[in-house]
């Protein structure tokens, strides 16, 4: 059933779904799916409004999931809803992860903890490397030659010029806005 998005003036933010999505689900995909179930399937928001927020979040710098929370919050209650959803989505998992970090620091000197963390770090590098493949593959499929050119320019800039990596990203963004933006 399609449900019209509530106007920011006449609705308040349902905090519960954001709280549960950010505290019970590992990874952005699981959190987004849980939020969709609670908001769309239960008729609080239209599917098109949710999908638009999801798509725009993919274009927003930073963490896509938090951008989606912000947009959905704004749908329900304007800027107040945006800030509330963003705060819930950031602070709840941040508190959990800081607690885990504190445990790590407290037990870092124990040999068993060191071995456990060595294993976890090996797993983390696998997750990190897989993230590269998962991110790059659809971009190269979509942009092909120009995408490979952007990758090559990035590699050359990184290897040949002593410029900071954020500057390389800015240059790539500028090139992409001109050359990849006109592609489609």
């Amino acid at each position: 059933m399609s449900v019209a998005a509530p106007s920011p003036d006449d609705a308040s933010l349902p905090v519960g779904p954001f709280l549960r999505a950010s505290s019970l689900h590992v990874g952005a995909a699981a959190a987004a799916a849980a939020l969709r179930r609670e908001l769309v399937d239960q008729g609080r928001l239209s599917a098109s409004a949710f999908d638009e927020a999801y798509a725009v979040a993919r274009l927003t710098p930073g963490t896509n999931l938090l951008a989606m929370y912000t947009l959905l919050g704004a749908r329900f209650a304007g800027w107040r809803g945006a800030f509330t959803a963003l705060t819930v989505g950031t602070l709840v998992p941040a508190l959990i992860v800081v607690a885990l970090g504190a445990v790590f620091v407290a037990y870092a000197g124990y040999p068993l903890a060191q071995k456990v963390m060595q294993g976890a770090r090996a797993g983390a590098i696998a997750v990190f490397a897989w993230a590269v493949v998962r991110l790059l593959r659809p971009q190269l499929q979509q942009h092909r030659g120009r995408g490979i050119a952007v990758a090559a320019v990035t590699l050359l800039l990184t290897l040949l010029l002593p410029i900071p990596q954020f500057a390389i990203l800015l240059i790539a963004g500028g090139l992409g806005a001109v050359f990849l933006g006109n592609e489609s």
Partner: protein
């Protein structure tokens, strides 16, 4: 390190990334290589801890902040993680006005460039993450498990952590 300075360094990295881990190369360059306030081991540990916890991938930034400057650093990390999300509202307006092609092109190029930098960072982090053959094999098995699409990252992290004492 001052938490305000840390916030702006982390913000610079998060604001130029389009996925959770895409900020890792810039953060490594700033905090590990240039300022030496963080080690590769701590950066790897931050990634591992964040993957075993609810929330988005980019949450490792909060742990990095905590390792560098304690609770104020964690707060700086959380703010740096959240701040770029505000940009979603003006971007949504631009998209609705059909001026999104340049935004899409720019963000796609930043994702591609980020992947190149992330691949180079993977190579630089690998010696700490896999210091011997056993842990190298563990990382490769984890990668294959993820590529199969049947194993979520949290299982790879927790499984690897459980195997750590047997392999060390």
């Amino acid at each position: 390190m001052n938490a305000v300075v840390l916030y702006f360094l982390l913000l610079r990295a998060t604001a130029l990334s389009f996925s959770g881990f895409a900020s890792v190369p810039v953060i490594r360059e700033d905090l590990v290589v240039k300022r030496a306030v963080l080690t590769d081991q701590e950066l790897n540990s931050a990634i591992a801890i964040s993957q075993a916890s609810p929330g988005p991938l980019g949450l490792y930034v909060v742990v990095v902040g905590y390792f560098v400057a304690g609770v104020p650093g964690a707060l700086a990390g959380a703010l740096a993680l959240a701040s770029p999300a505000i940009l979603a509202i003006p971007i949504a307006r631009a998209v609705r006005r059909h001026r999104d092609s340049h935004v899409r092109g720019g963000s796609a190029a930043i994702v591609i460039a980020s992947c190149v930098l992330m691949a180079m960072t993977t190579v630089r982090l690998a010696p700490d993450a896999a210091p011997n053959v056993q842990f190298g094999v563990l990382a490769i098995v984890g990668f294959i498990a993820l590529a199969s699409g049947r194993v979520p990252p949290v299982v790879v992290i927790i499984g690897s952590a459980c195997l750590g004492p047997l392999l060390a």
